[in-house]
């Protein structure tokens, strides 16, 4: 079978599942839905594996399938592109998506049944999400990518607000949707400018045109290409929760936990990173924008990590961790190490999905409790969850030889050594790595170690999750261990096998690397320095873990350092939400409303009133004309008719009888005429 020609089926199958469940879900029972939901994604996974395997055998690693024509003028068809980059993405999306769907059949099992409940709605939305996500990553042009981009935003909205009867959930859904709109506006403008510059929006054509040498790199200047790249990056900050638009992601934790795992950790939020990696040829020509991206990524990474240090809600810690890790990815994008960004995206999908699913399993065991201050001592009661989360926490902290170590270390090394990188970027990344280890292990120690702090009723209920939940956890744990092994640092030896990931992605980025005129050339390798930096980052991770162990395991609660003035700042998320609230919600929408009211009364109303006055003057003239000229003519006509019809008019009496009599008289007259005269 030629899977390469069938890639259009990969998104379409989950769409079929979504349609089936959303239209007919009320009439399906839970077991059927539990088969359809994961089943469609599983089929897509099989098709993806087949297609990627055949792609690997191709000489030119790129294959396009155009389903039908859509907007030919701007090079946008309903077409799909399978190349090494989208191959990685569809494998991540379908594999992680499949596991999370299976997990969800167990996690959502208590959701009310077919008629009244959200069970079918949940899986319908999830399948719809997978459809849009696969459209996003398989699209062969920006507009179609944007269709998927908006679609996943819609599904994100629907699933955050899944428990819509809860005010906080529907508020969070609105927030996510509205904040994303801001980014999307940037994306749309970026597409306009890109079309202006290049004349097409098809990825292949855009990248070819940009790498052809027609455009000079805008070093030290800020031209059309840099502006385009910034606008596209604004789109990415919305979807991928970067400063300044990261505020929606922590609130998005109101959704069910599988949603947080799939949409708000593993797949959708990485769409921005994917899009930037897709636009690599553009970024190569816009080094000033790349600096902005790296700076924003680094700032986001450290800001979110610092907030994560003090959060008490288990899912919120993970949410800030996600924001922080996405920051890492943007650092990699910003320093031109696109493959490292995708590498971190791919390893992060495993361990962050695992962490969220593990957190879901904990919440499941704790009868819905999410506050870590009321957990503790769960280590032996839910052993599978504990062991898998243990692995994931080591992985995200960057302990070798787990997945997170390789990808994070590669990003840190690139931040140090790339021509676009700097020591400052590396330092921020390094501090963030230490913070990451600290907050993750704070979470682990508070949740699984020490004394149980839950009430008796909850304690009594604690139970390990069903197999449908623990099996995905185990598979993802295996991924968290081994996923990084295909991207070893170069100091471990260079071969096609050790750096398989980089080599696999190389065809996508080589044109851009040429376009960068030297910036993309591999930085000269200083092996001793790389070893040293690697040692430092592992040291930071171990330091973070040990510090967390000291504070949260050794010290009693009242002995812990208070953190002074910095604690409330971190706990209140650097007051970003409050600042936005004051500036945009209160300031613009309400305070600005006062100013607008003044403007409205004085200028707009004044204009309207002025117009009204003018209209009245004109209408006075018009009335005179109408009364004397127009009406006069009509009345003259009427008067003439009236005068002429003077005697005959009175025949029309209004009495039907008189008419009938005249009628009869007429008939008799005609009759008489024929009788006597003819």
């Amino acid at each position: 079978m030629n899977f390469l020609e069938l890639i259009w089926l990969i998104p379409l199958i989950p769409l079929g599942g979504a349609a089936a469940m959303l239209f007919f879900g009320r009439r399906m029972d839970k077991p059927l839905i539990s088969v359809i939901g994961p089943g469609t994604v599983g089929l897509s996974l099989l098709l993806s594996i087949g297609a990627v395997a055949q792609l690997a055998g191709l000489e030119k690693k790129s294959h396009e399938v155009v389903l039908f024509e859509w907007l030919p003028l701007i090079g946008a068809d309903w077409g799909f592109l399978l190349d090494p980059l989208s191959a990685v993405m569809i494998l991540v999306v379908t594999l992680v998506g499949f596991l999370i769907h299976i997990y969800a059949t167990g996690y959502m099992a208590h959701e009310p049944g077919p008629r009244h409940g959200g069970f079918y709605r949940f899986f319908g939305y999830m399948n719809l999400f997978v459809f849009f996500m696969l459209t996003l990553v398989l699209a062969n042009n920006y507009p179609l990518l944007f269709v998927g981009w908006e679609g996943v935003g819609l599904c994100s909205y629907l699933l955050i607000g899944f428990y819509f009867h809860k005010k906080s959930a529907s508020d969070a859904a609105n927030k996510a949707f509205i904040v994303n709109r801001i980014g999307d506006a940037g994306f749309i403008l970026g597409m306009f400018f890109l079309f202006q510059a290049v004349g097409s929006l098809r990825f292949v054509e855009v990248n070819e045109a940009l790498a052809s040498g027609r455009f000079a790199p805008e070093t030290g200047a800020f031209g059309l290409l840099s502006l385009t790249a910034v606008l596209l990056f604004v789109g990415a900050t919305g979807k991928s929760a970067q400063i300044p638009l990261f505020v929606w992601l922590p609130d998005a934790m109101e959704g069910p936990t599988p949603v947080s795992a799939l949409i708000h950790a593993a797949t959708m939020v990485t769409a921005g990173v994917y899009m930037c990696a897709r636009s690599n040829a553009l970024l190569a020509l816009a080094p000033e924008t790349s600096h902005i991206i790296a700076a924003v990524g680094a700032a986001t990474a450290i800001l979110a990590a610092s907030i994560g240090l003090v959060q008490n809600d288990i899912k919120r810690v993970l949410a800030y961790s996600t924001v922080s890790q996405l920051g890492y990815m943007f650092v990699a994008v910003g320093v031109g190490a696109w493959w490292a960004a995708i590498f971190h995206l791919y390893t992060h999908a495993f361990f962050k999905a695992l962490l969220f699913l593990g957190a879901g399993s904990v919440i499941h065991a704790m009868s819905g409790e999410q506050d870590m201050r009321r957990m503790g001592g769960l280590k032996d009661k839910i052993p599978v969850t504990f062991r898998t989360m243990f692995i994931a926490s080591l992985a995200i902290a960057g302990i070798p030889p787990l997945a997170g170590f390789f990808s994070k270390d590669e990003i840190l090394w690139q931040a140090w050594s790339s021509p676009l990188g700097s020591k400052a970027l590396w330092t921020v990344g390094w501090v963030t790595a230490a913070m990451t280890a600290f907050y993750m292990w704070r979470l682990m120690f508070l949740t699984f170690y020490g004394e149980g702090r839950m009430d008796e009723h909850t304690r009594h209920h604690i139970h390990e999750s069903p197999r449908s939940m623990t099996v995905p956890l185990t598979v993802l744990a295996a991924g968290s261990v081994a996923a990084g092994w295909i991207g070893m640092p170069k100091v471990f030896g260079e071969s096609h096998f050790l750096q398989a990931f980089e080599h696999w992605l190389a065809p996508v980025f080589e044109a851009a690397a040429r376009g960068m005129h030297g910036a993309g050339e591999a930085a000269h390798h200083d092996a001793a320095m790389e070893w040293a930096l690697m040692g430092l980052s592992v040291g930071a991770a171990l330091g973070g873990i040990l510090l967390a162990r000291h504070v949260y395991l050794r010290l009693k609660e009242h002995e812990r350092p208070s953190g002074g003035f910095i604690y409330p700042v971190l706990y209140n998320k650097w007051y970003v939400d409050d600042i936005y609230n004051a500036l945009f919600v209160e300031g613009l929408a309400k305070g600005g409303g006062g100013a607008l009211a003044q403007f409205d009364a004085a200028v707009v109303d004044g204009g309207v009133n002025g117009t009204a006055w003018m209209t009245r003057v004109i209408s006075k003239i018009s009335i005179w004309y109408d009364t004397w000229i127009v009406d006069g003519l009509v009345n003259l006509g009427a008067f003439t008719v009236r005068a002429l019809s003077f005697p005959v008019r009175f025949l029309q009496t209004g009495f039907i009888h008189s008419y009938a009599l005249m009628f009869l008289a007429g008939v008799l007259a005609i009759f008489g005429y024929y009788w006597w005269v003819r």
Partner: protein, 103 residues
């Protein structure tokens, strides 16, 4: 033995019906009765048509009579509809009280 019914008999019947209808229209005030009178006149015409169709042994007259019946039905429906609208507004069905449309 009765004499056979000839065309002349039909014509007499038709004439009687016509006169009944005309007198009804000229003398009665109730719109419903007026409409009934009109129906009688139309049926006088129908009898006339059928009689000549029979006399001349042609089918057109019958066909035409069918048309007249159809039109009469439509006219009755429309007329009654107007009548109801009229009654709702004027609360009367007497034609001599409805004389707005005059010189």
């Amino acid at each position: 033995m009765l004499a056979p019914v000839t065309t002349a008999h039909y014509l007499v019947l038709s004439t009687i019906l016509l006169l009944i209808g005309v007198v009804g229209i000229l003398t009665r005030r109730n719109v419903i009765v007026l409409m009934m009178s009109i129906e009688i006149i139309l049926n006088a015409v129908n009898v006339n048509l059928i009689a000549f169709a029979r006399n001349l042994d042609q089918v057109e007259g019958q066909v035409f009579a069918i048309f007249v019946i159809c039109v009469a039905v439509a006219e009755a429906a429309v007329g009654l509809g107007i009548l109801i609208a009229l009654f709702r507004n004027k609360e009367t069905v007497h034609v001599d009280e409805i004389d707005l449309l005059k010189w």
